[in-house]
């Protein structure tokens, strides 16, 4: 997807409630549809391709911040841990 800094959608070929937001890292923060009611952290999340996902899953997985459950870590963080889940 080419990078554009249009922050509003007037005149764009998608619905009026469809917005693209970009940051300086070139990552799209996509608010696809406000009816989706998605949280801001989802809009700013890093999209991993299947290839990238497999690369993480194929390693021991010790680099993940918080061991979100993946193919290598099915148990998550339990009752406590760096995630602050308690």
């Amino acid at each position: 997807m080419s990078v554009t800094h249009n922050l509003t959608v007037d005149g764009m070929p998608w619905p009026a409630n469809f917005r693209w937001i970009l940051n300086d890292n070139g990552k799209e923060i996509k608010m696809k549809n406000q009816e989706d009611n998605r949280v801001l952290s989802r809009l700013g999340a890093r999209e991993l391709t299947e290839e990238e996902e497999n690369k993480v899953a194929g390693a021991i997985g010790t680099a993940t911040k918080c061991t979100p459950p993946t193919t290598t870590q099915p148990h998550g963080d339990g009752d406590k841990g760096e995630c602050g889940y308690s």
Partner: protein, 368 residues
């Protein structure tokens, strides 16, 4: 003396540390947390003496207990629906009894459960760090649209947004996942007010950084590692997962070390992984601490990091020992040796059921 790990044997840090300790002749027990299954049942006898059994293991005086990553308490799924909520709360209360009682027994907890629950709060971290003389970026934790907009309106600096907890969204059908990470957010990028109420967030001054630091705290000792990311991503974690960063051992500035040791004392912790950002002037900015943060990946990137050997030396030393860990690190095999074993295990392994994992995990969701 044995080392009891509150984690499953296959947890990504428990497995290599258990292996390394056993290679050096230490006894290790892994207990995955409280559950209805026999291996994860527990008993706490309070008589003239207190006795605690975690699955098949007795907690004995002198043991070291690494509260790594136990499961959330799990009740028997056969319990009547009418009793389910009661059973859930009973399991949770009993687990808390176990975890808090551990720190009253003559064992060494890494870390004490009370301290871990306390310091896992981001606002507590930032306040204590600032009180201990560490540089801390200005931050707002909020779900108030007015508060967030006001924070942006009165702050000329670049800003970031991040969550309190990590999360993974797995796309159904088309493959691929989305993973939470820190991202830049500008005033004009703020979404409609209601979106800001869908989930609270952390909004913080962005540190314009040269590089990141992952520091590992073990007792009174700190080990610092610079993380160089050629992609200059704001959040290095996913690039680390992709093997795209470089890890360099660096000295810790004395004022930062002093502040971290004071921070640990105030927080009541003896172990943790701490993130700093180093700005263009070379100043270190405290970002957060993960008291059970990942550290073995540092060894994967730089064999001289030796966090596996040092952690083994740390957890088998007497509580409060000030002896340099380097004196005993040679007793334990390096992580690179475990990697060879893991490679063989992986060849024999089966692919887990991702859908079942996503359904049962609080950190993973499916999306269309």
């Amino acid at each position: 003396m044995k080392v009891i790990m509150l984690a499953h044997e296959n947890e990504n840090h428990a497995a290599p540390i258990k292996w390394a300790l056993e290679q050096a002749g230490y006894q290790v027990a892994c207990w995955g947390g409280l559950s209805w299954t026999e291996q994860q049942q527990a008993s706490l006898l309070l008589d003239e003496e207190t006795r605690m059994a975690l699955g098949p293991y007795s907690v004995e005086p002198g043991d070291a207990v690494w509260i790594r990553r136990p499961d959330q308490p799990v009740q028997n799924p056969k319990v009547a629906e009418a009793d389910r909520k009661f059973a859930e709360l009973e399991y949770r209360s009993f687990y808390h009894c176990i975890a808090y009682t551990l720190e009253t027994l003559p064992v060494w907890c890494v870390n004490k459960f009370s301290a871990s629950r306390f310091i896992n709060n981001k606002s507590v971290q930032l306040r204590l760090a600032r009180a201990c003389g560490l540089r801390v970026p200005k931050a707002l934790l909020s779900n108030s649209p007015t508060g967030v907009r006001d924070f942006f309106d009165h702050n000329p600096n670049k800003m970031i947004c991040k969550g309190f907890t990590p999360h993974v969204w797995q796309r159904e059908g088309q493959g691929g996942v989305a993973v939470t990470e820190t991202f830049e957010l500008k005033r004009e990028q703020l979404p409609p007010d209601e979106v800001l109420t869908y989930a609270p967030g952390i909004y913080q001054d962005m540190v314009l950084k040269q590089f990141d630091i992952r520091m590992v705290l073990m007792g009174h000792r700190v080990y610092s590692y610079a993380l160089h990311n050629p992609l200059k991503a704001l959040d290095w974690r996913q690039d680390a997962g992709q093997g795209k960063i470089e890890v360099e051992i660096v000295p810790t500035p004395p004022d930062v070390e002093k502040g971290v040791v004071a921070f640990a004392a105030k927080a009541g912790i003896c172990f943790g992984s701490i993130d700093f950002a180093v700005d263009m002037k070379g100043d270190w900015w405290f970002l957060e601490i993960n008291e059970q943060g990942q550290f073995l990946w540092l060894d994967q990137f730089n064999k001289e990091a030796r966090t596996q050997e040092r952690f083994c030396a740390f957890i088998t030393a007497p509580e409060g020992s000030t002896e340099p860990l380097e004196k005993r690190e040679g007793l334990f095999p390096p992580f690179s040796e475990y990697e060879k074993i893991y490679a063989k295990l992986q060849q024999q392994g089966e692919t887990p059921d991702l859908a079942a994992i996503a359904a049962s995990s609080p950190y993973m969701s499916k999306e269309p």
